[in-house]
Structure formats: C-alpha cells, structure tokens
Subunit: 231 residues, 2 copies
C-alpha cells in the first residue's frame, strides 16, 4: 500500500474503504494529494478534464449558474465524499472550495480503469450515486414547494443530522455552520436577507440560538422538525 493511503484520515469512510490493502496498490499510485485555498475553484463547469477525487478535509460546493450570474448550490461535499463524474466528457457543474481543502485526486481515465478492475469499488460508487440522486430529488421538493421558513428549518435540521453523523462523538445541539448566510441562500433558492430574517424568527421563537454568527444551537428539535415539514 502506497505512502499516500497509509495515513489517510478518511480511508475507511471513503470509496476506497471497499478495497483491501493489496487492491489499493494501483489506486494509491494514481492518487495525488492536492490542497486548495478557500474560494479556489477546483473544477469549472465545461472543463474537459473531469477530475475525480476523494475529499480528505474541508468543505466544497457544487454549483449551477445562469448566464447572468444567479447561482444555485446543488450539492455540498464533506470529508470522505467522492467528487467527480466518471465517464462524463466534460464537467457539468463548478466545484469550489468553501474552506481550505485537501483532496486525493485521480485522473479521470485512470479512475475509470480502477472501476473496471474493482467491482466492489464500482458497486459502492453506484450506491452512493443512487443516494445522491435521492437526496437531490428530496431537495427538489424543498426548492419547488416549501416556504422560506420551511426551507431554513429543513436546512438546519439536515445540517444537524449530517454533522452529527460525522461528529461521532455523539449528539451535540450546537454545531458550526460550514457556510455563510449567502451560501445558505444559494442552497435554499432564497436571498440572503430572507435567510437572515427566518433565522431571526427562529431565534425569537426560542427554537434556536446563534452563540456566534457561524454557530447554531438547536433548543427545540421537535419544533424545528415540525416547521421543516409544514409552516
């Protein structure tokens, strides 16, 4: 097993977790660690060379945009998530680092060959892609049919659940938002002002608190869940 994988923090949670040490040989030779600073674009929509990678640390956004600059965040990537589009001739979305980020990158063609050689790797990618599709469809309900209040409540709930899972330490009712208000707006299909107002409302109702602007404390998860589904 290559040097790279030996001290990989996400080894068992990433796609690579499906491979044993021997199988990792070739993949590890293919992988290159790369760092990106906050704000840097990792993949431009339209790029021909569609990179594949595992996220080692940090958070990234996947965005779609209209020509006149309106932006929709269509996905967030966390450590152990897979990034990229095997088999795609070009990238369809732009991927940007939201924090300083460390990736384990693979050339697309090389990664595709690994998929050929390792059925378990492909199986896991299929399952993850199916999950992503489900999540993205659930988000379509939010974008198309939910009110601003429901959107913000759903988002906080989703985020709490997701971070709770990463944070295996156990459930905390306070977590740090990995994104700004503006980015929340881009996830929810709202404006920054509307997001801010909804957060204020939730605070006034005693359902949440914001110790700092980036931290969220959920005081009343039940009420939050109720608002997420019908407000």
């Amino acid at each position: 097993m290559g040097q790279v994988c030996a001290h990989c923090g996400v080894r068992d949670r990433s796609l690579c977790g499906s491979l044993n040490d021997t199988e990792l040989e070739t993949l590890s030779r293919l992988g290159r660690r790369r760092r990106f600073a906050r704000g840097e674009v990792v993949v431009w929509s339209g790029d021909e060379a569609s990179l594949c990678a595992n996220v080692l640390s940090g958070v990234l956004k996947i965005t779609a945009s209209t020509e006149d600059g309106r932006e929709q965040i269509v996905g967030l990537l966390y450590p152990a998530d897979f990034l990229g589009q095997p088999y795609a001739p070009s990238a369809d979305f732009t991927i940007t680092a939201l924090s300083d980020v460390e990736l384990c990158t693979f050339p697309q063609k090389g990664f595709e060959r690994e998929l050929d050689d390792h059925p378990r790797l492909e199986r896991l990618l299929l399952q993850r892609t199916l999950d992503e599709l489900n999540h993205s469809r659930a988000w379509m309900l939010l974008l198309g049919r939910k009110s601003a209040q429901e959107k913000v409540a759903s988002f906080l709930f989703d985020m709490a659940r997701r971070l709770d899972r990463a944070n295996c330490a156990g459930r905390t009712d306070t977590f740090e938002l990995p994104i700004t208000r503006g980015e929340m707006a881009d996830v929810l299909g709202l404006t920054i002002e509307t997001v801010s107002r909804q957060l204020t409302k939730l605070k006034a109702a005693g359902i949440i608190a914001t110790p700092t602007v980036r931290e969220i404390t959920i005081h009343n998860p039940a009420a939050l869940a109720a608002l997420a589904e019908a407000a």
Copy 2:
C-alpha cells in the same frame, strides 16, 4: 432468450441492451409484463418491496410530497427508462402512471443478483444514474433560481429536445405534451394558473402556438431558448 424479450419494443434502448441473447436468459425469466392504467400508483413512497422495471410504453411521474399534500414531480419516466432503486430498503418516492403504461418488472432482489452477474448491466445503470443526477441538479437551478417565464420556456425546450430524440423520425416543431397543465406546474414548482398565464404570454409573443391544448408548436426556437436562460 425468453418469449418476453423476443418482441420487446425497447430491447435495444433499455438497460437490457447491454446484454446479449444468452445473458438475457435469466433476466428474461425474471421479468413479468404488467400493465397499469392512467392514474394508478406503481410504487408508493415508503413501500418496502421496491420494484425494479423497464418502461415499455407510456409515461410515469416520480413525485415527492409534503405531509399537507403539496407535490413536486422530481422525474418523468419514458419508454426504455429504468424504474426503481436497487439496494434501497424502501422506496423514497411515489411513482404514478400518467398514461396507460406497460412495464417489464423484476423483483428487486432478483434484479440485484443480475447486477452482480453482469458487469455491463451494472455499468450502464451507473452511467444512467450519473446522468439522472446531472439532470436533477440542473433542474435544481431551475426550481431555485429561475422565474416563471424561464421555467416554462425551459420546460418546453427540454421537452421538445427529449421527444425529438425519441421521435427519431426527425425534428418536428409540433409535439404532444404527455402531461396536463397541473402536472407541468408540479414539475416546475408553480401553480397551474401561473403556467397557463406564461403559456398565453408565449403565444401572444408568437413564440409558440397550441393547436390543441395538449399540443405545442414552437415557432421561434431561438427566442424560446433565449427566454429559458434569461427572462
């Protein structure tokens, strides 16, 4: 090769197209033709037995709903499309026949075994799922960031392109909508009235015409495309 596949209209366009006659043996024994009438629900969200199937004829919708009954169509299924969620413990969305429909159904577990046995089948499913994910993400931009006018124009454009592809006869500028205004509204995250008004606007501008309420003629594709991206 079983009786079933011998006269299958979508044999070469469906997932099964990846298999040769010998490989189709077991799959064909697994498959059962089933008909559903317009309006019938094929899969209920929450169903434990998640059915897998190929669409032989007709159109179906995949929907997500809030508890209080608001509905968002998150996908449409056409002939040769694959339906179902291998590996999912239960269905996440409801699938309903929009017209009379004919399916070639497989039990989930059986289909999963076929995926084990036929890498090419699995590969094709992976590629289709990746495509679906892309399409669904592109739709998130529409739902979150586009105006009603852009939504309707985008929808017509998308539909024309999609039907053009199926309709290998060549490009026609008139096509039949497979769905009602209400269903269009559920695809676009709008109300039925707003959809209707936007169509009226497009007619008034001479960009489209509606010979019958279910038919759309595109007089000015360039103008329609322009409205789809920035209006």
